[in-house]
């Protein structure tokens, strides 16, 4: 028998190279441009795909092993939560509105992102890039499913969750994240990576998952905190992928810089608008709060974002164009959204409410320059209307922004007393925007954004023709159950009754 020769011990990087990147080859029977037909048209120049740095060198064996461990933990908690009436542990049923937004508006985005990453996992010519995208694709399927599973038990006991699949395609506030993901998925592969991999994952998801999920824990919702943190552990890989991808583009060719900067500007603003909903979830919908939206922004937006853009400055990248406008909006946006949600609550599959005195004291403390001055007077008046038996409902519906699709609830960056209005014309049609940022995005690609499906104008077209009851039916909203003021709702009554049963011996 031959002498045993000790095998070379392979370092992680080398092992990963052999087990992953070395699997590909230069094709000779087919033209590379036909195999990868979408890599050139956006104008990004890549000279050497081998220069790609792999983020987190996971091979499939480790992937299966660690992900299975996460999954076992997650479903153990979800099962226990379902078996032990875990829903009665939450601080207050008001909190459920945040979860309803999550399921209707955010979880479908996870699925869409998965679809996008599957495409990128095939369209990029480098094996390292492909595999990183594929892992993200399968992770995103995971996120959509764990979220649906975690919230499924709430659906059995509370209103507003049951029609999330219909809401995703038809409900007015759901088109905000839907159009965001549709925008990304309909873009080319490099832009998609900036949109989701970089702007959404790296710059913004910390704001979505970390402080809000910490808040879920604080409010006794172990199901949500578990899916949140479990998903976010995948995001750490995804964020690193996003950052590596942007560095790769910038290092490959100086001509890529202006294109990449344009996408950063666009997608930062797109993402910032989508995350506005999260500001309301944090400031208004958590009965017990860990930190305000402003405080979260200071940590994850300003501190982390500034560090990131300072780091990228060596490539010539500057902070996104909308950065200053975003900062000016922080102390206003959650209040502006909640006022909107409350007055249009006849058309939401979630409840909203007038903040209590206690809530308002907290908001005043967290927003010393804005809440008492601008927003408290409105809430006090709304309270009076309700006390007089003329609860405020704004049947005027709302003008929507052609780009971000949000109702135009925002004020001028430098004047919180004036509603922000921007408009433009393209091929003889008028279009309206909520901000310079959104108008700019439209004007860069008007043929794209004129196609936007805007839910409020659609309500007056066929098949609904302006009939509110028909619309409710069409979006799966059951009037008097899913919508309206939390005060007096079925959710409130049921939760209080069940909790009373569970905490007494009667």
């Amino acid at each position: 028998m031959d002498m045993k020769v000790a095998k070379k011990k392979l370092a992680l990087k080398e092992k990963y190279r052999l087990l992953t990147r070395d699997l590909g080859w230069e094709p000779t029977y087919q033209n590379k441009d036909e195999i990868y037909p979408y890599t050139k048209y956006e104008g990004i120049r890549i000279h050497d795909w081998d220069k790609w740095e792999d983020p987190f060198r996971l091979t499939m064996d480790s992937y299966w092993k660690y992900q299975a461990e996460k999954e076992r933990k997650f479903y153990a908690i979800i099962d226990a939560h379902a078996q032990n009436n875990g829903h009665l542990h939450i601080t207050d049923a008001r909190y459920l509105s945040a979860l309803k937004i999550f399921l209707q508006a955010i979880s479908p985005g996870e699925y869409a992102a998965g679809k996008g990453f599957a495409r990128m996992g095939r369209e990029f010519p480098g094996v390292g890039t492909q595999v990183a995208c594929q892992m993200q694709a399968i992770d995103e399927i995971r996120h959509a499913q764990t979220q649906i599973h975690a919230l499924s038990n709430y659906n059995k006991f509370y209103n507003g969750f049951h029609a999330f699949a219909d809401a995703r395609d038809r409900m007015w506030y759901c088109t905000v994240p839907r159009s965001f993901f549709d925008d990304a998925v309909s873009a080319g592969p490099f832009e998609f990576m900036i949109a989701i991999g970089f702007s959404f994952e790296y710059v913004l998801t910390n704001l979505l998952f970390v402080p809000f999920m910490s808040g879920a824990a604080y409010n006794g919702d172990m199901a949500t905190v578990t899916f949140g943190f479990s998903a976010q552990s995948d995001e750490a890989r995804h964020m690193t992928l996003g950052l590596e991808c942007i560095k790769f583009m910038l290092e490959q060719d100086p001509a890529n810089l202006p294109i990449v900067q344009g996408w950063i500007d666009k997608w930062f603003w797109r993402g910032f608008r989508v995350l506005g909903l999260v500001s309301t979830m944090m400031d208004y919908m958590l009965p017990k709060r860990v930190m305000s939206w402003r405080e979260a922004w200071n940590i994850y937006g300003i501190e982390n974002g500034t560090a990131l853009f300072r780091d990228l400055a060596r490539y010539g990248i500057r902070a996104p164009a909308g950065w200053d406008d975003a900062e000016k909006a922080i102390d206003h946006m959650s209040h502006q959204f909640m006022l909107g949600l409350y007055q249009w609550s006849f058309g939401t599959a979630l409840h909203s409410w007038i903040p209590s005195d206690d809530d308002m004291a907290w908001l005043a403390k967290k927003y010393p320059d804005t809440f008492d001055k601008y927003y408290r007077p409105r809430w006090e008046h709304i309270k009076k209307l309700k006390a007089a038996g003329t609860q405020f409902a704004n049947y005027g519906l709302a003008k929507l922004c052609q780009t971000c699709q949000l109702p135009i609830v925002f004020t001028e960056p430098d004047d919180p007393t004036r509603s922000a209005q921007r408009e433009g014309e393209y091929k003889g049609e008028k279009y309206h925007f909520c901000s310079d940022g959104c108008q700019h995005i439209f004007e860069n690609e008007p043929e794209k954004y004129i196609q936007a499906w805007l839910p409020m104008p659609q309500l007056f077209q066929d098949p609904i023709g302006g009939d509110l009851a028909a619309w409710m039916d069409w979006v799966g909203l059951r009037n008097g159950k899913d919508n309206g003021d939390f005060d007096g709702s079925e959710d409130q009554k049921n939760f209080d009754a069940w909790r009373a049963m569970a905490t007494s011996n009667q």
């Binding site: 087990l19 299966w64 599957a118």
Partner: protein, 330 residues
Amino acid sequence: MQIDLRTVSIQPQRQAFDHLVRRFGDKPASRYQEGSYDIQATENLHYRPTWDPDQLIYDKSITRIVMADWYALKDPRQFYYNTYTLARARQQETTEANFTFVETRGLADMLPEELKQIALKVLVPLRHVAWGANQNNTFVCGYGYAAIFTQACMFHAMDNLGIAQYLSRIGLLLGDTEALDEGKKSWLEGDEWQPLRRYIEDCLVVRDPFELFVAQNLALDGLLYPLIYERIVDGHLSSRGGSAIAMLTQFMSDWHEETRKWIDAVLKTAAAESEHNRSVLQEWTAKWGSRAASALLPVAQLALGADADEAIGEEMAALKARLKKTGIEI
């Protein structure tokens, strides 16, 4: 604050999400159903793709297969992320144990040199084939329609990658990094591999997701896995003292057994949908099946020599019999 809650029995307000009640009636839904049905956006897609303005973001018409409801393509394994990942993690533990067993007992070194050479020659270049399969299934997931079908394709793609990595480890175990270099050289230049490489590269330009599904998962892998892992490794090599190799490829054999049930179910449902689908599937399976058979012949010869012809003939007959059960005759 932790409240001590008494266990109480509360009547649920409803059993399942609306879209599942519409499909399955008013009863509790399984986690597979919750995680798979209707979770892809279907209406009011906002923008045309810039990468192909003739398509919709999710477009049923980019394949020739027509389904009234794409969610009919149920996975008999009912894999969603959790059940998939747990199943593979268990198999991975077994595989790891097998590799450790072979390594620690020096079984690789005890292999007859001739068998080792056959294993290296046949198995190592196949890691590139598995990577091609990964590309193709990723494509089907990316552009196919409906989560129930496409999620299974993504799982399949990750399995393909896992298999490519196991094959690489077999190469490293039996012949170190040089084996991988040699294997790649054969893949790129060796005459016996060129028809198969051409097959894979031709698949990489097919942009009908369902055709690609047929070309890769049914035609090519439907011949390749029984040929390589059952016939050559478990049969030919094991009977000559190479069962250590079979330990290292157990994952591939088990995996093929499991996944073919899913592939057959997909084909059967699609073929049963209409005469149009059946004839398209017949056309594709015939075309790609015969190409796959001839591409695999020189590979089979590496191990089986003159018996390769007969082996391929038998595998092709088996594939035809398998197809017949799904309602497709070639």
